[in-house]
Symmetry: C2
Subunit: 432 residues, 2 copies
């Protein structure tokens, strides 16, 4: 009997992070980090785990969106799916009725991410490889087949993408060895949440340096005086050589961003992240021009590859912040890595949340081994929340992500964590 995808399960899992103001920023004062947690099962007993991250209310909608996509997936022969994951991705995002809810954006697209990531997890498990390695060992031709070039042609052709991958091919083995030995550089957002006291900020900033991080990040944008005070405190805590990124989480309009950032410049913020609406490509370009040499970074809310294409075409960003579950999963992110490489813009993935660190490290590591071939000016965000709930949590050493070795993409939660945090019936929620 042909092995088919027999089930796509989706569970509403929420962690009550708002109780401690972990994750608080200018636009997200009280997030409850959550996941639309997906388990794909096959008729031969195979499993794949993926998720889409949300911040609480609405996670039920994300779960419902996964269930709406499930009929497109259930019954497909597994080998056919894995042999042409580009076609599978187009199937997930191209349904002629469901795409009206996007197209390729928001709730329905994040649901596609959760499923796509679960399928890549399944693939990694079958091959006995972590997903970064699975990708990094694919031929340039197979990788390029993952990309839907329909809306990318004016910025990146199939031939250009192939050339990028072929150029990186000879160094793959050496970079894989280097990665396994040294890991991939990380930075930490742990010190900088807006809800933390000054003392906690200073303590955690010093701790970050002691732990080997060379970059930290502070949330800004709620109150300018507070931002100045916190930035000064952080700068004196970490010294002149540690990079301090700041993150406004979309708090400003374009002229307001430029004005707000001017007095912060003496503290040498390395990048300003999400200074304005994530949809405002031209606005980011204007801000970038005004605040240079401060860098402009965005991406965690950039909803698909067409938006990333334009951010690059418009010269709007210095740093591309890929997210594992905002765009449609690993498959679309391969296209985005190729776009970034074409334009020579470093990818510094967004992470934190629930399972974002676990998943997105695979993309950055694949980028290093087989796409950009570099870790220069590249760091993966790290936040030390909620990793204990994963069966294969990220491992951080001396400010680096160690390369995962377990098969899959790392999104599997402990069954007990799922049971406890199911919303609204798990004991973590039922008792509050």
């Amino acid at each position: 009997m042909t092995e088919v995808i027999s089930a796509v399960e989706a569970v509403d899992v929420r962690f009550p992070t708002s109780r401690d103001l972990d994750g608080s920023d200018a636009m997200n004062p009280e997030p409850d980090y959550s996941a639309a947690y997906v388990v794909v099962r096959t008729s031969a007993g195979g499993e794949g785990y993926g998720l889409a991250f949300t911040v609480g209310r609405g996670n039920d909608l994300e779960v419902a969106a996964v269930k709406a996509l499930a009929p497109l997936v259930i019954g497909l022969p597994v080998e056919e799916v894995l042999a042409d994951l580009g076609a599978f991705s187009r199937r997930l995002t191209g349904d002629s009725q469901l795409r009206w809810l996007g197209p390729e954006k928001g709730t329905i697209h994040m649901a596609a991410a959760a499923i796509d990531n679960a399928i890549w997890d399944l693939y990694g498990r079958r091959e006995g490889k972590p997903v970064w390695r699975l990708l990094a060992e694919m031929s340039p031709e197979r990788l390029v087949d993952l990309v839907d070039f329909r809306y990318l042609q004016d910025a990146l052709t199939r031939e250009e993408a192939l050339a990028i991958l072929r150029q990186a091919e000879p160094g793959r083995a050496e970079r894989t060895r280097h990665l396994l030995a040294h890991g991939y550089p990380a930075y930490t957002t742990t010190p900088g949440w807006l809800g933390y006291t000054d003392d906690k900020l200073v303590h955690l900033a010093k701790q970050a340096v002691a732990d080997g991080f060379t970059q930290i990040k502070l949330k800004v944008g709620a109150d300018q005086e507070t931002d100045l005070r916190r930035l000064a405190l952080a700068r004196s805590a970490v010294g002149p050589d540690i990079r301090i990124a700041i993150d406004a989480n979309q708090a400003w309009g374009v002229p307001q961003a430029i004005e707000w950032l001017r007095p912060l410049a003496p503290y040498k913020p390395y990048w300003i992240e999400e200074p304005t609406s994530p949809d405002d490509i031209l606005g980011h370009a204007a801000i970038r021009q005004a605040v240079a040499p401060m860098k402009v970074a965005t991406g965690e809310h950039t909803h698909n590859k067409v938006m990333f294409k334009q951010l690059l075409q418009a010269g709007a960003i210095d740093i591309l912040q890929m997210d594992a579950s905002r765009v449609a999963g690993v498959t679309e992110n391969v296209a985005i890595l190729l776009l970034a490489a074409k334009f020579g813009v470093p990818v510094c993935p967004h992470a934190g949340g629930v399972g974002l660190c676990e998943m997105v490290q695979h993309l950055a590591m694949f980028d290093y081994v087989a796409v950009s071939g570099s870790t220069e000016d590249r760091v993966i965000e790290y936040v030390d929340h909620l990793h204990e709930h994963f069966t294969d949590p990220v491992r951080i050493r001396e400010g680096h992500y160690l390369a995962p070795v377990a098969p899959g993409i790392g999104a599997q939660l402990h069954p007990d964590s799922v049971a406890r945090h199911r919303y609204p019936d798990g004991p973590e929620w039922a008792t509050t």
Copy 2:
């Protein structure tokens, strides 16, 4: 007792339009025109009706999204809501957890549209006025208070918006009389669905001219030879003086669009609509430059005012196709009308679907009376589907929309139509 909003009901209503290929185009081969139909009730027995349009599968998600937003609305004092609809809109779209699913895009944003439209309907009913007139009689100051300028400042300030409205103020009364006497120009998409035979196309195109329309629209983009044949047929059916718009529904990439359109130029298409991804601002700008004097139109999938702002800033469009339920309803559309007026780009609303004609005519008529002050090169799309299900259907005479006179926004369905088309339990669906 203070009157409060006591209920926000949402119903999944679907019409089996795919059975006749009504509404078929290059990206939507078999739509079932549907609505997340919203009824807002007040503690004093007031009612407001609104909807978000979808094309079938996924309408249940849209209904679920309305229900997710409902707790933000229920219990609010009605007078407070109506006195500051700008604040109400920010409340609907700014919830710190739910906005993660957008922000301001896709499923969750369309749900905000359905509720916002229902609140405007409620407001019109209380004032005994159709919504176009309610808006057109508001002071410039109150209208500008509807607009969230946070992300618009670099293109449109509050002062500029006020100036636009004040300039149009003296002519309001005269234009209202003109509108009531003559209606607002329409064009028809009825002849041009991709699934129709050549004979049906020719017959309906001639009929449209006989009915007084001066513009029709054809769907293109599935097959170039077919497009050429159908365009030639339509041109000879309607003669040289009738405008023929064409609509690719996002079928092409940027270079492909330019190439595909070249041989169509001799038939003088008036505008090309949705030539590529709706997210591709820079792509639309490139296409516009290449295909002039053919005009470029888009908007039915443009997901919020920040995207419209950029389409205007980039010189990407000749025609702005406002949609009643893609962005967050009447309130956000007021901002978009002001942006269009600032940039001098005519608004030709997208309509058809379910209830889109009924709702969007109010915005175009308000624009004429109190914003742009003009109907030059402005037409509202008309499709003769499904109007019979509405209690106050649009009235078309000699190629014009007659101004609605009944209070509200026109989105109320006959209770019997709702009952018959409820999905999945209504008799239209249960028997198939």
